[in-house]
C-alpha cells in the first residue's frame, strides 16, 4: 500500500467512497480517544477496508473530553458511532443502559474465545457484571500505569556513588514505593548538564480523571479497597481505612517533595512534555506512551528504561487503563461492525497491531517467546498487566470519578485538610451516590 500525499488523500477517499457505495458496502464510524494508538488503528484498518469493501471513518476525541463527549453520545442515543472503543470504566453503564450490544452469541458463532485474551483485560474491558461470562466488548488495547526512568542518568558513576553513600543501596529500578520516593528526592533540584532537574512527573490533573489514575497506584499498594469483600458497596473502613490514608499521604509527600514546579494540573501529555524536555528523572504514565518515548530523539533508545509500579506495604498493584471495542446498540450497521471485530480479533491482525504500537491483549501475541524482547518495554508491559486493578465500572462511574477527583485534588495539590478527612469525605460522597442509585 502506498502512502498517498495528504492533498490527494481526500480525493482518493471520495473516489473509493463512491466505489464502495456501488458495492453496497457500509460506512462505519469508529469512536475512540485521540492519541497515538488511534492513528495506528487508522493505518491498521486499511487492511479491513481492502478486505471487506466497507469504508471506515474515525471520530477521535481528546482524553480530557473523551468521557464527557462519548457518554453523552451514548446516553442521548446518537448515531455517530457504530463501533466504540470506550474506556474500561464505562462498561457497567453501557451494559445496563443497553448502549452496547452483548457479544456472547457472536463470539460463540465466530469461535472467538475470551480465554485467548489476557485474563485481566477480559475482566477489565469486556465483562459486566465483573467476573461473570457476560461480554460487552472485545479487549482492544491493553494499558496500565507504569514508570519511565532516565537510564542514562541512573548509570552515571558519580551519581551512583553518591546515591549509594546516601541511601546505602545501588541506584537502580525501585522495588518499593519508598525506594521510588528516595530516588525522586535524590534527583529533585539536582544540576545535570547545566540545568536543574526534578524527581518525578506524576498525575495531578483535576478536570477529568488524571489525579485519580495516579493516586490509586499509591492507594492500592497501601491497602485501600473499593469496598468490603462481602458487600462491594459497603465502603466505611475500606475506602477510608488508616492504611488507605497513609497511601494518600505518600502521594502528597511525593507531590510536595519531588515533582517539578508547576505540575499541579498534569496528566498524560504534560508528564510526557516534562520527561521529553529533560526535566525529570522519573515519569508516571500509561504504557501507551512507551513506543513514543523509545523513538524520541532526545530521550529515546538506551536513554530510557521502564518499570512496573513498585509495591507498597499493603500489596502490589497498578492502575489499569485500556479499552475494549464494542458495537453501539443504536448503530444501523451492526453486522458490518461485528465484521470489523471479527477481523480485528484475528491473530495476524493483532500481531500487526503490536508492531504499529498498539498493545494487543491477545495471549497468542504477548506469550510468543519473541514478544518480551521485541521492544525494550515489552517485559514491563507484561509484568504490569499481571498486577492491575481498576476503578469503579458502575453505571454511576462518572459521579464516582468526579467525587474522587475533587477530594483527592483538594488534599494533594491544594493542601486542604488531612488525608483521613479527604477519604472520609470521599466515602461519604460515594455512599450518597450509591444510595441515590438504589444500591444501598
Amino acid at each position: 500500500m502506498k502512502t498517498s500525499s495528504c492533498l490527494a488523500a481526500p480525493v482518493l477517499a471520495a473516489v473509493s467512497g463512491l466505489a464502495a457505495t456501488a458495492a453496497s458496502a457500509d460506512d462505519l464510524t469508529l469512536c475512540w480517544a485521540a492519541w497515538d494508538p488511534a492513528n495506528a488503528l487508522v493505518e491498521l484498518s486499511k487492511d479491513f477496508e481492502a478486505q471487506s469493501g466497507h469504508k471506515m471513518s474515525f471520530e477521535f476525541v481528546p482524553w480530557p473530553n473523551f468521557a464527557d463527549r462519548m457518554l453523552n453520545e451514548l446516553n442521548s442515543g446518537g448515531k455517530l458511532c457504530d463501533l466504540m472503543i470506550g474506556d474500561s470504566q464505562w462498561i457497567g453503564g453501557a451494559a445496563e443502559n443497553g448502549n452496547y450490544i452483548k457479544l456472547n452469541d457472536f463470539f460463540d458463532a465466530e469461535g472467538i474465545k475470551m480465554d485467548d485474551f489476557i485474563p485481566a483485560t477480559v475482566v477489565g474491558y469486556a465483562e459486566w457484571p465483573k467476573n461473570t461470562p457476560n461480554y460487552w466488548a472485545l479487549p482492544a488495547f491493553g494499558d496500565v500505569v507504569g514508570w519511565t526512568y532516565r537510564k542514562d542518568w541512573f548509570s552515571r558513576p558519580e551519581l551512583q556513588t553518591e546515591f549509594k553513600k546516601t541511601y546505602g543501596r545501588d541506584l537502580g529500578v525501585p522495588e518499593t514505593l519508598d525506594q521510588l520516593m528516595d530516588i525522586a528526592k535524590f534527583f529533585q533540584g539536582r544540576e545535570i548538564d547545566g540545568t536543574t532537574v526534578y524527581g518525578a512527573a506524576i498525575y495531578t490533573e483535576r478536570g477529568s480523571e488524571g489525579i485519580t489514575m495516579g493516586v490509586t497506584n499509591a492507594l492500592y499498594n497501601y491497602g485501600f479497597q473499593y469496598g468490603s469483600p462481602a458487600n462491594p458497596y459497603e465502603l466505611q473502613g475500606f475506602v477510608n481505612s488508616p492504611e488507605a490514608a497513609k497511601g494518600l499521604e505518600f502521594y502528597k509527600a511525593l507531590y510536595d517533595c519531588c515533582t517539578p514546579p508547576g505540575s499541579s494540573d498534569w496528566y498524560m501529555s504534560e508528564d510526557i512534555d516534562a520527561y521529553k524536555s529533560g526535566q525529570v528523572a522519573l515519569q508516571m504514565n500509561f504504557a501507551f506512551i512507551w513506543p513514543g518515548v523509545n523513538a524520541d530523539a532526545n530521550v529515546g533508545g538506551d536513554k530510557s528504561g521502564y518499570f512496573p509500579n513498585p509495591a507498597g506495604p499493603g500489596g502490589h498493584f497498578a492502575q489499569l487503563g485500556g479499552q475494549g471495542i464494542s458495537v453501539v446498540a443504536n448503530s444501523d450497521q451492526k453486522d458490518a461492525a461485528l465484521q470489523y471485530i471479527k477481523w480485528f480479533a484475528q491473530p495476524e491482525v493483532q500481531a500487526k497491531w503490536w508492531q504499529l504500537g498498539g498493545y494487543s491483549a491477545l495471549k497468542a501475541v504477548v506469550e510468543d517467546p519473541a514478544f518480551a524482547t521485541s521492544q525494550p518495554y515489552a517485559q514491563t508491559f507484561l509484568d504490569s498487566m499481571a498486577i492491575v486493578k481498576d476503578f469503579w465500572a458502575e453505571p454511576a462511574y462518572a459521579d464516582l470519578m468526579l467525587a474522587m477527583q475533587k477530594r483527592v485534588h483538594d488534599y494533594v495539590v491544594a493542601g486542604q485538610g488531612t488525608a483521613q478527612e479527604a477519604l472520609d469525605s470521599l466515602a461519604k460522597d460515594w455512599t450518597a451516590i450509591f444510595e441515590d442509585e438504589g444500591l444501598l
Binding site: 495528504c6 488523500a9 476525541v61 518515548v293 504499529l356
Partner: protein
C-alpha cells in the same frame, strides 16, 4: 499655545509614545511566542530552558494538517518518502495516513461564523429599521429585552438548549449552531444598526415613497446603501464573536459541526499536546479576523460600545 492640553508638546508626545510602545511590546510578546512556536519542532517547543533562537521548521504546520502514524521498519524501507512533508514525518519513523480534522473544523467555523453573521445582520437590519422608523408597541421594553438576552451566561441556557436541540435533531448540526449564534449576536446587531439607521435622514425615504416606491423598495434602494458601512462594521463584531465562541461549541457539537476553537487546544502529537501544531492552528485561525479588524479599525470604537458612541 505651547502649554495647552489640546495640542501636547513634543516632549509630552515623546514620553507618551515611549510608554505606549513599551506596553505594546510587552503585550505582543505572548503573541510572538505563539507565532514562533508554530515554526519550532516539537522538541524545540518544549525545550528546557525555552529556546529563543531556533532553527525554523514547518513541522507544526505539517502536523496541523495531517494525521500520522508510526510504521514498521520494513514498511518504511519499502516506501521511500516522496514529498517534502513526508520527509519531515519520516524523522520519527512515521508516515502520513491522511489529512487531519483541522481543515473540516476550520470550514465549519467559516460556515457557522459567516452563516450566523449573515443571518444576524439580515434580521438585525430589518428589526433595527422597524425600531428606528415605526411606532412599535412597547418599543423600549422590546429593545431592553433584546439587550438583556446578552446577559445570560451561555452555560446557564446551555442545559435546555442541549435538551431542545437533542429532541429537534439540531445537536451537532450547522443549522443548530447558526441559529444559536444568531440569537446571541442579534442583540448587538439590532442596537448597533438602530444607531446607524437613526442617522440616515428620513426625508430620503419619504421622497422615494412619493416617487412611487413601496416601503420595501424604499428600504432596499435607499436605506440599505446608506447603512452599508454600519452593516459592515456590525458584521465584523458578529463574526468575531461567532468565530471565537467556545462554550456552546464545546457542549453542543462533536463530530460534524465542531468549530475550530474547541478543536485547537486538543491537537495532540506523539503522546502529548503538539504545541507547534496548536500554535500553527491558532495563527491560521487568527488571520481572517485580524485582516478584517485592520480593514475596519475605524469602526471598532462604535462596535465595542454597543452603538453608544456616535461619530
Amino acid at each position: 499655545m505651547s502649554n495647552s492640553i489640546t495640542e501636547p508638546t513634543p516632549r509630552q508626545k515623546w514620553v507618551a509614545g515611549i510608554l505606549v510602545v513599551g506596553y505594546a511590546l510587552v503585550t505582543i510578546l505572548p503573541l510572538i511566542w505563539i507565532l514562533t512556536t508554530g515554526f519550532k519542532t516539537p522538541a524545540d517547543a518544549i525545550a528546557y530552558p525555552p529556546k529563543v533562537i531556533f532553527e525554523p521548521s514547518l513541522e507544526g504546520y505539517v502536523n496541523l494538517f495531517t494525521t500520522r502514524t508510526r510504521q514498521t521498519q520494513e514498511f518504511l524501507a519499502a516506501h521511500p518518502p516522496q514529498t517534502w512533508y513526508e520527509e519531515i514525518v519520516r524523522k520519527y519513523d512515521m508516515v502520513i495516513v491522511g489529512p487531519s480534522r483541522y481543515g473540516e473544523r476550520f470550514l465549519n467555523s467559516v460556515i457557522i461564523g459567516f452563516g450566523s453573521t449573515f443571518l444576524s445582520v439580515f434580521l438585525g437590519t430589518l428589526a433595527a429599521y422597524a425600531f428606528s422608523r415605526f411606532k412599535v408597541p412597547l418599543k423600549d421594553d422590546l429593545l431592553f429585552f433584546i439587550l438583556s438576552t446578552r446577559m445570560m451566561p451561555p452555560i446557564a441556557v446551555a442545559i435546555p438548549i442541549f435538551l431542545m436541540f437533542r429532541s429537534l435533531g439540531l445537536s451537532d448540526t450547522h443549522l443548530g449552531m447558526i441559529l444559536l449564534y444568531t440569537a446571541v449576536n442579534i442583540s448587538l446587531a439590532v442596537w448597533l444598526l438602530k444607531g446607524f439607521i437613526d442617522e440616515i435622514p428620513r426625508e430620503y425615504e419619504e421622497a422615494a415613497l412619493i416617487d412611487g416606491y413601496t416601503r420595501f423598495q424604499a428600504f432596499y434602494k435607499v436605506v440599505l446603501p446608506q447603512a452599508a458601512t454600519g452593516i459592515a462594521s456590525t458584521a465584523i463584531f458578529c463574526l468575531i464573536f461567532a468565530w471565537n465562541e467556545y462554550a456552546f461549541a464545546a457542549l453542543l457539537t462533536s463530530g460534524t459541526a465542531q468549530t475550530a476553537p474547541p478543536f485547537i487546544p486538543t491537537i495532540i502529537g506523539v503522546g502529548g499536546q503538539d504545541w507547534p501544531a496548536v500554535a500553527a492552528g491558532a495563527t491560521v485561525f487568527l488571520v481572517p479576523v485580524m485582516v478584517f479588524t485592520i480593514i475596519l479599525r475605524k469602526h471598532l470604537l462604535r462596535g465595542i460600545t454597543f452603538g453608544a458612541v456616535r461619530k
